[in-house]
Amino acid sequence: MSPRRMGAGTTSILQAIATGHKHGADIMAVTGQGGGTVYKVLRRLEIRELIEGAWEDAEVAEAERRPRRRYYRLTAEGRSRLSMAVESNRGVRHGSVGPAEPERSR
């Protein structure tokens, strides 16, 4: 897949993951975007292999008497794409994180 510009919404979600907000609910809280939007972006980023999702250890959840949660982390590719996006955004809009804007795909 050819490199393409990332929307501000996508960038902010990548940034949220990069800064340690690894669960869906946290990402929603940090980026201020709704669950539907966040998860759609997460799915696409997974398909593009910029992030990878994984399940937390069952024992941990068991011990804390709560459901297992799925967490996300950046891949190497994701990290480099994020820094590229931040670079170019800085040039254009001085790093401001705009409102959610679903990424257009071909």
Binding site: G24, G36, K40, W55, R66, P67, R68, R69
Partner: protein
Amino acid sequence: MSAGVWPAGRTVTMCRVLLSFASRSVPLLGRADWLAEWEGELWALARRGESRLALVRFALAGLSEARWEKRMEEGTMNGIAQDIRLALRGFGRTPGFALVVIAVLTLGIGANTALFSALKATLPSSSPYPGADRLVMVDLLFEKTDGAPADTAPWSYPKFEVAKQGLGLVTPLAGYASQTGTLTGVGGAARIGVEYVTPAYLELLGVRPVVGRAFDATEEVPNPALVVILSHTLWQSRWGGDPGVIGETLRLNGTPLEIVGVLPSGFRGASGAADLWVPMAATSTIQGAWRLRRPFAHWFQAIGRLAPGSGLADAQAQAKQAGAAVDAAYPDPSGKGEVGPQGVAVVPFLRARVNPLARAAVTAVSIGAVLLLLIACANVASLLLARATARGSDQAVRAALGAGRGRLVRESLVESMLLSITGGVLGIAFAAASQRLVSTAVRNALETAGTRGLQYIDPATLGMDGSVLVAGVGFALLTGLLAGLWPARLASKPDLTHDLRAATGSVGRRREWPSGRGLLVAGQLALTLVLLAGAGLMAASLGGLRRIDAGFSNTGVLSLRFERGRSATAEENRVFEEQLVQTASRLPGVVSVSTGVCAPLTGRCEVAGVRQVDDRTTAEPGGGVLAYDVSQDYFATLGVRLVEGRTFDGTDRTDAPPVAVINETAARTLFGTSPAIDHRIAITRSLTDGRMARVIGVVADVRYAGLETAAMPAVYFSRSQSMQGYGTLFVRTAGDPYGLVDAVRGVTMSLDPELPLYDVVSLADLRARQEARTRVLLALLAGFAGTGLLLSAIGLYGIVAWSVSRRRKEMGLRLVLGAPGRDIIAIVMKRPLLLAGTGIASGVVAALGLTRLVRGLLFEVSPSDPRVLGVAAGILLAIAAIAAWIPARRVNRIDPATALRSD
């Protein structure tokens, strides 16, 4: 996960129910994970103490996200684009497959699109005139005494006047006669189309002159108004579109006429061939007073418009009375009651202008084209099915992993649609390119037909318009659906257990005969048989037409018509003709030259009745005799065989006693088996003044009326004894007849500069025209049948090849066990041949039903002719056997050792 871990509260429970419901939309493969993840986050939110509203919003977001996951899997726009990419990549891997399919579809869709426009032109709805649905043709009828359908006849002027009086509900009512005439006085002499019309004609057809005026009521009979209106084309070509043309004079057949108007571009009259319109009243000056006076000179047609408020039935009722009035005014002069009463018929114009033969022909070819398209569909479906089956395990795996049925169906449909749309675009282009071909073919096929002086189908109306394009696109989409649906259905219901096990190699493929493909191949063979039968019937008809002895030898003879003005005397005409024949005979390459009335196969020439044979007055033999004036070498020039006696020679001149040559039919009808020579006959015709003529010879029958019409009794007179101012010049040459046209024209120019030669055509072409319709039909149907044959052969070949490759192991085993190769081939071929037999048998049944539709287009062959069907079935069976044998033979090349080790 125990319920205890969840915070209490109705909202959370409700949200969990909502999420669980939402998860049903998620593809099976990821469903459990999806639900777990969303529940996990819901838990986190609830734990964090988010408001109820936030929790509900989160759950609702889950609902929409789950739907999105489903759409992602099945794909909406995104998915289709992906499918198209996938399909294109697939075609790229097997370009041969794609090319074959597209070629097949191009042909099928193109043929149907081209024929659609031809079919549309034969529908009664297409008319160039405003309000054409209220136009009617008014025909004169001659009833038959034996109850057979009445003969339709043109009108004579006195009868027309009577009918017009009685037909108040058809008003205006106009008469028109389509003829040709010699135009002089402007540039070179030319033969052009003329319509002699009553003044109401132009208004009736809704045409107004662009320059000058239309005819007015004063130009009605009996006032011999010598005026003329021009076609736009003639105005442009002869006067360069000069508006000052009004008031100028042109000469038609030598008679000066004053130009009063010019009609709009595109209008050529009801005959579709006119360049001049002249009031019918002027014919008494141009052609002779008899035109308008004689009640039994039937020569023009009538067209009218239903009066406001009256329907067709009213007019038809009134026509009955008008018919009675005509019959009362001009009863049968023989008074013998051999012919029934005269009548009047009112027929809708739109129906009258559809040539029933052309319609039948176009319908037949269209059915053929639809059959071909169905074969193409079946072929493509079968190819797609083969691909779908080959991908069966792949599909099964994907279906097991949760790929929706819709997705799998769509993939198949996208493939077939891509192919059919490409085929459709090329097909429409192909149709546009073949348009000229079709319109020429249609025009040729129509050449021989034509009654009422009406232009049947205007070939100019055959064109690519919006509706033809829509039809082409429609054919393409329909083809895509038809071809793609079956494979799609199959793909959507993969036999999961079986195909999965096959994919993992734990079972062998069991479905040796994919019933779907088998059925498709049988269907293709059945449809091909119908096409073959149609082509066979046309071939048999053409063979029949070719075998007809028309009575003349048609190689190397050119015919050219001429008509001298009325001003020349009989003696001047005789001198002219003698000089013409003599001078033309001296041209290099000319074998012989002669003149006659009309060329064979062009019409009935002049019909008269026999008045007297020897001492007795006779009843007319079979509806009259052909009266035909020929010059000395006529029979030699046309190669008409002399049966007994002699033909005309230099002694048969005006001052010598009249002599006649009769044809074999006349000899048989008049004299039975006794010799005809030296009998004396007289016929009812003014030119010989009814004098008795001695029969000096009998010649073979010549078919004048048409190839399919048996010769009627004919009496030939010497042109020297019975001169007319018009006729046909025949020139026989050893070489190409058309090579002489300029030289012959030169000769006539030197003798009479104002005499154009027209209807220049070789006798060979006259004959070919008679066969044209059948030949065109044969060519098209044979083309379709050939394509169908090729397609079904490929289909059968494919299925046998597939079966052989599938059964390699079994065949290897049989070989090892000592079965002779021949037996194994027989085993492999048994089922395809059974399949072919079934297809052919059902094709025969279908053919028996469908070929009846072409009955009217056949000549001397029954639509259910057993020989034709037998030959068609034989050809198809032979091709099927070959198509099955080629791949079957490969079992001999199986190396048992390798085969047994393979899967």
